[in-house]
C-alpha cells in the first residue's frame, strides 16, 4: 500500500503501458506492415513488377525467326475469321 502511494499510484507507469506503448506499437504496425507490405505491394510496386514481367515475356516472344512471325499473322487471321463467323 505504501509503495502504491509513493509511486504516485503507478499512474505514470500505467499511463505508459496503456496509452503510449500501444500507440507506438500500432504506429509501427501500420507503418511497417500495412504501408510497406500491403499497400505498396499491391499498389505501385506490385503493379510495376507485374508489368515488367509482362514486358519480358513480350520481348521473348519476339524471337527473330521469320516463320514464327508468319505464323502469328496466320493465327491472327484465323482468330479474326473465327470470331466473325461465330458472331
Amino acid at each position: 500500500m505504501y509503495n502504491f502511494l509513493v509511486n504516485k499510484w503507478y499512474f505514470d507507469e500505467l499511463y505508459e503501458i496503456i496509452f503510449i506503448q500501444s500507440s507506438k506499437k500500432i504506429g509501427l504496425f501500420f507503418w511497417k506492415i500495412v504501408d510497406v507490405k500491403i499497400i505498396d505491394k499491391f499498389g505501385p510496386d506490385g503493379l510495376s513488377l507485374l508489368i515488367k514481367n509482362l514486358s519480358l515475356k513480350a520481348s521473348k516472344f519476339q524471337s527473330g525467326f521469320i516463320y514464327q512471325y508468319a505464323f502469328m499473322i496466320l493465327i491472327g487471321l484465323s482468330a479474326l475469321l473465327t470470331f466473325l463467323i461465330l458472331q
Binding site: S23, K24, I26, G27, L28, F30, W31, V34, D35, I39, D40, G43, P44
Partner: protein, 497 residues
C-alpha cells in the same frame, strides 16, 4: 478592368524562366536575383489583386474568356473568394523557395530556378481556370517540373520516388480526363460557370464523382493512396518538398471544393460516409505512423497526410464552418508545412542527416532556430493563437454539426498530432547534446531567418485575427453551399415524383 491581370499573373513566372533559359551562366547569382525579382513582383500583383477583389459577391471576377478550340473549349480564367487565397499562397511561397536554395542547391542552379518558376505559373493556372479542360491541362502539366525537381536534385532514392509520384498521380488523373470528356459530351460545354447553372444529370453523377475522386484522392493524398508522398518528400530537395506540400496538395482540396461539391452534389452526399471514413483513417493512421518515424521529413510527410485528412473531413461536412475551416487549414498547412520542411532543410544543410537520432540538444547550439521551430510545431498541432487552431477548430465545429461520432474521432486525431510533433521537437531540440558534430554548426543565417519569420508572421496573424481570410471566402463558400443544397433538393423532389 480590361487588363488581363490573371493571365499576366500566370505568364510572368514563365517569362522569368525564359530569361533564365537564355542566360549563359549555370550557377551564377544573377539567375537567382532574376527569379526572385519575378516571383516577388508576382506576389505584389496578387496582393494588389486581393485589394481589388470584391468579397461581397460570390461570382467570379477578373474573368478572361478567349476562344481557344473553336466551339468547344474556351480559355477562361477567373477567381472567386476561394481561388484568390490559394493564388496568394502560391505567390507568397515561391519567392521564399527561391531564397531558400541559397545553401541547398549547388549544381545546375539555373535549371532548378527555371523549374520552380514554370511550376509557379502552372500552379497559379490551376487555381484560376474556369474551364474543365484548362484546369486539367494546368493540373497535369505540373507533374513535369516536379518530376524533374525530384529526379535531378533529389536524394539517393530519387529515381524511384520521382517515378512513383509521376505515374501514381498520372493514373489518377487519366480517369478524370475520361470524366471531363464525358461531361462535355453530356452537357455540351466544359465551362465551369455554365456547368454550375446547368447541373449534371443525376444518373451519371456517381461515376463522374468517382473519376474525379480518383484523381483528387491520390493528390491529397488520401488513405490508402498516400504512399507516394513520404517517398517523394524524403527524396526531394527542400524547395521541392516545400512546393509539393504547400501548394500541390492544396490543388486536390481545391478540386474537391470546386468540382466534387460544385458539380456533383448528389454524388457527394452519397459518398460522404466514404470520405469521412477515409479521412478519419488518414488522421488516426497517419498520426500513429508519424509517431514511429525515424526520418524527420518522412514524419512531416505523414503529418501532411493527417492534416489533409482534416481538410477532406471539413469539406464534406458541407457546412459553412467546415468548408471555411478546411480552406483556412489548407492555407495554414501550406505555411506551416513549408516552414517545417524548411526547418528540416536548415539542419540538413549543416549536418546532412535527416535521422532524428542524429540530433538532440539543438537548443544550446541554435537558440533562434529552436524558437521558430517551436512556433511551427505548435502551429502544426493546432495551438490556439496559431492559424492551425483556427482551421482545426472550424473543421471540428462543422463536423460536430454533421456527425457527432466523426467529430469525436477526429478530435482524437488532434491529440495524436500533438503527440508526434511534441515528441519530435523534444528529441531534436531538447535533451542532451550527444552528437559532438552538432557543437560546430551555426545558427540561422540571415536568409533563413528571413524566410522563417516571413512564414511565422502570417501564422500568428491568422491565428489571432483570421478576419481578412474569412471575409474573403465567406460569401463564396455560402453561395457554394446554397447551390449545393438547392441542387440536392431539386433532385430529391425529382426522385420523389
Amino acid at each position: 478592368m480590361n487588363f488581363p491581370i490573371l493571365s499576366f499573373l500566370i505568364l510572368l513566372p514563365t517569362i522569368g524562366a525564359l530569361f533564365l533559359l537564355f542566360s549563359k551562366d549555370k550557377n551564377s547569382n544573377t539567375g537567382k536575383y532574376v527569379a526572385l525579382f519575378t516571383s516577388f513582383v508576382n506576389f505584389l500583383i496578387s496582393i494588389y489583386l486581393w485589394f481589388l477583389f470584391d468579397s461581397s459577391t460570390s461570382s467570379f471576377q477578373f474573368i478572361e474568356d478567349k476562344e481557344w478550340l473553336k466551339g468547344f473549349i474556351n480559355y477562361k480564367v477567373g477567381i472567386d473568394g476561394i481561388s484568390i487565397l490559394f493564388i496568394i499562397l502560391t505567390t507568397f511561397i515561391t519567392p521564399l523557395c527561391i531564397i531558400s536554395v541559397n545553401n541547398s542547391i549547388k549544381d545546375r542552379l539555373r535549371d532548378f530556378l527555371i523549374a520552380i518558376l514554370v511550376m509557379e505559373s502552372l500552379m497559379i493556372g490551376v487555381f484560376c481556370s474556369l474551364d474543365l479542360v484548362v484546369f486539367y491541362l494546368f493540373f497535369e502539366a505540373g507533374l513535369i517540373p516536379l518530376f524533374l525537381i525530384i529526379g535531378i536534385w533529389g536524394g539517393a532514392r530519387r529515381v524511384y520516388s520521382a517515378f512513383k509520384f509521376f505515374l501514381y498521380t498520372l493514373l489518377g488523373s487519366v480517369l478524370m480526363l475520361v470524366a471531363i470528356i464525358s461531361i462535355y459530351w453530356m452537357a455540351g460545354t466544359t465551362d465551369i460557370i455554365q456547368l454550375y447553372e446547368l447541373g449534371i444529370d443525376t444518373k451519371y453523377q456517381n461515376l463522374l464523382w468517382l473519376a474525379f475522386f480518383s484523381s483528387f484522392a491520390v493528390k491529397t493524398p488520401m488513405w490508402p493512396v498516400h504512399t507516394w508522398l513520404p517517398d517523394a518528400h524524403v527524396e526531394a530537395p527542400t524547395a521541392g518538398s516545400v512546393l509539393l506540400a504547400a501548394i500541390l496538395l492544396k490543388m486536390a482540396g481545391y478540386g474537391f471544393i470546386r468540382f466534387s461539391l460544385g458539380l456533383f452534389p448528389v454524388a457527394s452526399e452519397l459518398f460522404t460516409p466514404l470520405v469521412y471514413s477515409l479521412s478519419l483513417i488518414a488522421i488516426i493512421y497517419a498520426s500513429l505512423v508519424a509517431l514511429m518515424q525515424e526520418d524527420m521529413k518522412r514524419l512531416i510527410a505523414y503529418s501532411s497526410v493527417a492534416h489533409m485528412g482534416f481538410v477532406t473531413l471539413g469539406i464534406f461536412t458541407i457546412t459553412q464552418q467546415g468548408i471555411e475551416g478546411s480552406i483556412v487549414q489548407m492555407i495554414s498547412h501550406g505555411l506551416v508545412s513549408a516552414a517545417l520542411f524548411l526547418c528540416v532543410g536548415v539542419v540538413y544543410d549543416r549536418v546532412h542527416s535527416r535521422l532524428i537520432k542524429t540530433y538532440g540538444g539543438l537548443v544550446s547550439v541554435m537558440p533562434k532556430y529552436s524558437i521558430l521551430f517551436m512556433l511551427f510545431t505548435l502551429a502544426a498541432l493546432g495551438l490556439p493563437g496559431t492559424s492551425g487552431f483556427i482551421g482545426e477548430f472550424l473543421i471540428l465545429m462543422g463536423a460536430f454539426k454533421d456527425n457527432f461520432l466523426v467529430a469525436i474521432i477526429a478530435s482524437l486525431g488532434v491529440i495524436f498530432g500533438a503527440a508526434y510533433m511534441l515528441w519530435l521537437y523534444r528529441r531534436i531540440v531538447f535533451g542532451n547534446l550527444i552528437n559532438k558534430n552538432l557543437l560546430e554548426i551555426p545558427d540561422l543565417d540571415n536568409s533563413e531567418k528571413f524566410i522563417l519569420w516571413c512564414l511565422a508572421i502570417p501564422v500568428l496573424f491568422i491565428g489571432f485575427y483570421p478576419e481578412p481570410l474569412i471575409n474573403t471566402i465567406e460569401v463564396s463558400v455560402k453561395d457554394l453551399i446554397e447551390m449545393y443544397n438547392f441542387n440536392l433538393n431539386m433532385n430529391m423532389v425529382e426522385v420523389q415524383k
